[in-house]
């Protein structure tokens, strides 16, 4: 994963770790945090739980988390667990 300020690229093979880094980035974030999911093909239950945590943390800090490049299969997973309203999405 490479970090560019509040723009984080999520490694498709290490999604949970990427989201952990994103949680840390929230501490210093003042506005939006953009997570680039372009390299993520699939997420597992651990990643999903990490995203739930991230959403909770972002809500508490009033920081908007923007997910970029989310493939539609992952988008449907987020939809099923009702996480989509808690993120913004960027094509």
């Amino acid at each position: 994963m490479t970090s560019n300020g509040e723009w984080l690229e999520i490694d498709g093979e290490r999604v949970v770790q990427g989201l952990q880094a994103a949680r840390e980035a929230l501490d210093s974030a003042h506005s939006d945090v953009v997570l680039d999911f372009s390299a993520v093909r699939r997420i597992d239950p651990n990643a999903l739980r990490a995203m739930e945590k991230l959403a909770g943390l972002a809500d508490g800090k009033a920081v908007k988390v923007v997910l970029r490049g989310v493939n539609v299969d992952i988008y449907k997973v987020l939809k099923l667990v009702k996480l989509t309203p808690r993120f913004s999405f960027l094509a």
């Binding site: 699939r42 997420i43 597992d44 239950p45 651990n46 999903l48 739980r49 299969d73 992952i74 449907k76 997973v77 987020l78 099923l80 667990v81």
Partner: protein, 882 residues
Amino acid sequence: MAEIVASLSEERIAYLEGLVSQARTAAAVFTQYTQEDVDRIVKPMVLAGLEQAQYLARLAIEETRLGVVEDKALKNMVATEFVYNYVKDKRTVGTIREFPERGVVEVAEPIGVIFSLTPITNPTSTVLFKCIMAIKTRNAVIFSPHPSAGHCCYEAVRIMHEAAVKHGAPEGVFTCLESQTLPDNAYLMRHKDVGLIDATGGPGMVKAAYSSGKPALGVGPGNTPVYLEKTADLNMAVVDIITSKTFDNGTICASEQTVVIDDEIYDSVLQKFSDLGAHICNEKETELLGRTVIDPKTGFMQPMAVGQKATDIARMVGLSVKPKTKLLIAPIQGVGREYPLSVEKLFPVLAVYRAKSVNEALTVCVDVNHAGGIGHTAVIFSRNDEVIQKFSELMNAGRIIVNSPGSIGALGGVYNDMVPTFSFGCGTGGGNSTTDNVNVYNYLNIKRVARRTQAHMWFRVPNQIYFNMNAVENLRHFPSRSTVIITNPAMEQIGHVDTVRRHIPPETLVHVSVIPDAEPEVKVVMQGVEALNFYKADQIIALGGGSVIDAAKIMKLKYESPEADLEELAAPFLDLRKRVVQYPTEKVTQARLIAISTTSGTGSEVTPFAVLTNKQQGRKVTLADYSLSPDVAIVDPQFVMSMPKGLTADTGVDCLTHALEAGVSIFASPYTDSNAMQAIRMVFKFLPIAYEHPGDEEARTMMHNAACIAAIAFSNASVGVNHALAHAFGARFGVAHGRANALMLPHVIAFNAGVPTKFMPSPNQRGYIAHKKYAMVADLLGLGGKTIEEKVENLVAATEQLLDRLAIPRSIAELGISKEEFERAMPELVKIAFDDPSWRSNPRMPLLSELAELFWSAYRGRSLPTMAKASQPQTAEEWSCV
């Protein structure tokens, strides 16, 4: 149920929510998996289940104290190996089935979270079965085992979960309630994130599942009747019944409960049972058994007996039996509360009944089936297919097992090719939503992707059409013993009948039947049929205008098929191919119909239509079927040279209406378009000439051909709302058909060219194209105009000019019909026009109010309806076209 849920502590709710959350997450993640992914997981799960089959069986026996360890191990193996054998090649992800010829594809959608209740009788096998089904279909399951089988089920879930996750399934895909309670079940059954309840258990639990408001698969109780009929292979039957009824000590709910045996074989069958280790109870033993193993208060079996060995039950009751007794057989004399053993007994006690006849045997089976076993299972042993069929029709059972053991037979895949299952749907009779052997397809939402299909169309015309001057000479080609000419008085007067007679082969007996010069009525038709019967006609020649030819068509129909009900055949329909009423195909006799038209308009000589008038009701009905089409059409202009001017005008406009309506019909095709367009061109060019110069042979010939060509078009594309209006109006006010059409025509063109209030469903067309078709006509006629709207306006104007040139009244008012009279008639006119099948092929669906508006526009005349002026919202390019 709300009260039960309210009794849950906060901690317990948090625990249950945790289970749901875990399952929901797993189910969501699972949606990303491919077919290959799930198939990769299923196989090692099955192997794990097989490896642990005996271990799980022992656990189940230790915990529940029901059944037989060997049989439980066997059940675990069937639940894994046999189920795998069934599901392994099944597609359950993405496209699961394709029906290319129908353009339909079925696509699987997982359910998500399934809440599954499992029974005490088949605890581990049911868990193994459901786990395999769930993985195969990408669902997560929360298991709630029977409280007395919690540990063995928990262990089965653990084994399945471990194997599944190890091979890639999402963590948490299976969870299992520890020490479940009724409130737990109630809470989970109503949970918003649970998509389906799969309840395999007692009736109370199944009822609770269905009462929860969630989609549910339930299993009803059984009470399997068995008919052992005299033609059966008795040795096989007795072994099968013992095998089944003693399997796992009778705990499978599909096992045999009462065997109804034909009188002739009864003693021999009981002897065979006895020889193979069954104890036949005497009357006293039966009474004692019934009193002990069936609760006299409820009428249901005593739980203490469930799944116990025959010898243990005998001991319980105090019967003296041999040590190796497998089964207790109790003769009963009826079904119901007076005969306690006639109910379900999930232990090795079998009731038997001696039947004096097939009817009595079947009656008792019906009674057993209805004594708590509706929808479940029934068994018959017989070699008589008729008896098997009758039994199948009488039994309300999801599974009717023939010549095989009930319990193992119902499980599927062993004795027959039914779907292997551990969950028997019992249909509505059993309070269930399905009669299926519950399987993977019950764990899926199956989506149908239906692609647009193009309906098959047709182009049908009479076999032979002879046209141009003196075409009537071709009559000599048609041999006949007895020919009846149907015609009207004018044809005789003018000499046309003689002309026709001259060309009929001399050996033919010719008879002439003259009918009134008016649209045919039933009475006239039946008089004609009498003549046909009297002369035993094998050929009918219809010589006249549309009315005569229509009459001859209906006469032929009634002559060939006297039972044909004309009123019924005129029943409304939407699509000719799907109509409810079919024309008769069986004929008592047959006659060739040759139609010689003496007007240039209706085209009845080639159409499959006939209009019948009911003067008493003031209405016309249209009969439509290709069997009405004449066999031969003769389009000879010599018969129209003397047509009066008014008739030339009216019939000519009728022909134009046919062509224009066929052109914009939703059934128009390139085949009909070519005919419609050619006919329109010929009418605009030659009708004024034929009208103004009646002796012009070329104009007469072209108009006669135009009428036939237009009729070929509308025979295949049908007509439209213009005809519906004209039929209603013409019948009500006695106005000739062609003239009635003419009064409506400009208004209908404008109406169809406007943006429809309601589009007519037309799968064969891409978008709305009527206005473009009219514009094409305008171009064909060289009317000018730059936009579609201009071209349509020019076509309307050209039509009006043509009508003016033909001196056709341009409004209904001009006919002398008062506004008040017309207003009074309006409700009936609208009703009849709407019932008329003609508009079913119109491009624009007319609302009732629009029909009224069209009538009023025609009444007023020149001023076109405002709705027709609706702007054309798109350019030609934006509209798709055929």
